[in-house]
């Protein structure tokens, strides 16, 4: 199998309707960006699943390191004052 005919991997994001975010749907192979977005249309919206598509080369995605998950995601825990449910005294007051 020769290297020269291998197409890169792309990640596909679908907006299912107006007002919603694009959500990761899966991936595919395509030779270039223009074909990737077309392949995404053919593969991931065969049943009216979307009104808009994003494709991005998989290798271009930067993600948080799973091994440093603790230092990344510990901080918000225990800070319940960031959530409306923390404020009990105002419960029952209308339009608040």
């Amino acid at each position: 199998m020769s290297e020269k005919n291998i197409w890169p991997l792309w990640e596909v994001f679908v907006r299912s309707s107006r007002g919603l975010s694009h959500v990761h749907a899966g991936s595919l192979h395509a030779p270039d960006a223009e074909m990737a977005v077309r392949n995404a249309r053919d593969l991931y919206t065969r049943r009216n699943e979307g009104v808009s598509l994003w494709v991005v080369k998989s290798e271009d995605i930067i993600s948080s390191d799973p091994d440093s998950k603790d230092q990344f995601f510990e901080s918000p825990k225990g800070k319940d004052y960031r959530h409306a449910t923390y404020y009990k005294a105002s419960e029952g007051v209308k339009h608040l």
């Binding site: 299912s16 053919d42 593969l43 065969r46 009216n48």
Partner: protein
């Protein structure tokens, strides 16, 4: 906003948000609607619809052979979509034509003889290699795109409605063919050579697409006169070929009378395969 209203709104929002794969059938004109609600066309309009239906039917029959054989899986899915679109157009046109003669789409597809088919020669041409299929798609989809765009203005409401649904789909076929023509035209020396060859073997069947018939005179304002599409088609195709580093080949035009039921040697085999099972069980439902 009342709190239960808010809850309902958030709930529905959440549902939609939860799924990137929301599935809906979508609203579009279907052959079943035409069979149920369609107004019976005149003999001439039916003859015209038959031509357009036969073009799409034979092309989709050809295209369907690609399923499970494409150069890459993504392309298998893409060609499948295009084949399904074409089959849908065929079913709509044939269903409409059949209303004039109390015949169904299946009566027309499966129980007509070869000389009763009115399709163009270009759609019956062999798939060949992928480049031949792409060039055939480019030439036909560009033609159908211009044709359906004009047909949307037809005085016949059903033809206009079928054209309005189909034009968006053939626009995508055109785009797909253009993308591949450029890539294969400019890709490697081998692919460019294959594309030049594809153009040479398909180009003889161009003139037939643009030949006016007496039927078009009789259907002024209803049918699209094919010759009126030629200049725009020439210009579009020249533009694409230029971008792809390809040229219009210098080959003679073939004498084709597909519209009168005179077909190439391919047609007998296409129909034999397509019709064999239905004809073995006449009158059966499936």
């Amino acid at each position: 906003m009342k709190s239960d209203e808010l809850d309902a709104t958030l709930d529905s929002f959440g549902d939609a948000l939860a799924s990137a794969t929301r599935v809906t059938p979508g609203n579009a004109l279907r052959p079943e609607d035409i069979a149920k609600d369609g107004v019976k066309p005149s003999e001439q309009i039916a003859q015209y619809a038959l031509r357009l239906g036969d073009d799409s039917l034979i092309l989709s029959q050809r295209m369907s052979h690609w399923v499970s054989r494409a150069p890459e899986l993504e392309e298998d899915v893409a060609l499948g979509n295009i084949t399904l679109d074409l089959l849908g157009h065929a079913r709509s046109f044939l269903t409409y034509a059949g209303l004039a003669w109390d015949k169904t789409e299946d009566d027309l597809a499966y129980f007509r003889e070869e000389e009763e088919f009115t399709s163009l020669h270009i759609v019956e041409q062999d798939n060949g290699h992928f480049g031949v299929t792409i060039i055939r798609m480019l030439l036909v989809a560009t033609y159908q795109h211009l044709l359906y765009t004009a047909l949307m203005e037809s005085a016949d409401e059903t033809l206009s409605a079928i054209a309005a649904k189909s034009v968006k789909e053939v626009d995508y076929h055109r785009d797909h063919a253009i993308q591949w023509t450029i890539r294969l035209g400019l890709g490697t020396e081998e692919s460019a050579e294959k594309m030049r060859h594809a153009l040479e073997i398909l180009w003889p069947y161009i003139d037939e697409m643009f030949t006016d018939e007496p039927l078009h005179d009789q259907l002024e304002g209803v049918a699209v006169r094919p010759s009126t599409l030629r200049a725009a088609w020439d210009q579009e195709i020249a533009g694409v070929l230029d971008e792809a580093g390809l040229e219009v080949p210098n080959v003679p035009q073939a004498m084709c009378k597909g519209r009168q039921g005179e077909h190439s040697e391919y047609m007998g085999y296409i129909l034999a395969e397509m019709q064999v099972l239905a004809r073995k069980h006449p009158g059966a439902t499936w």
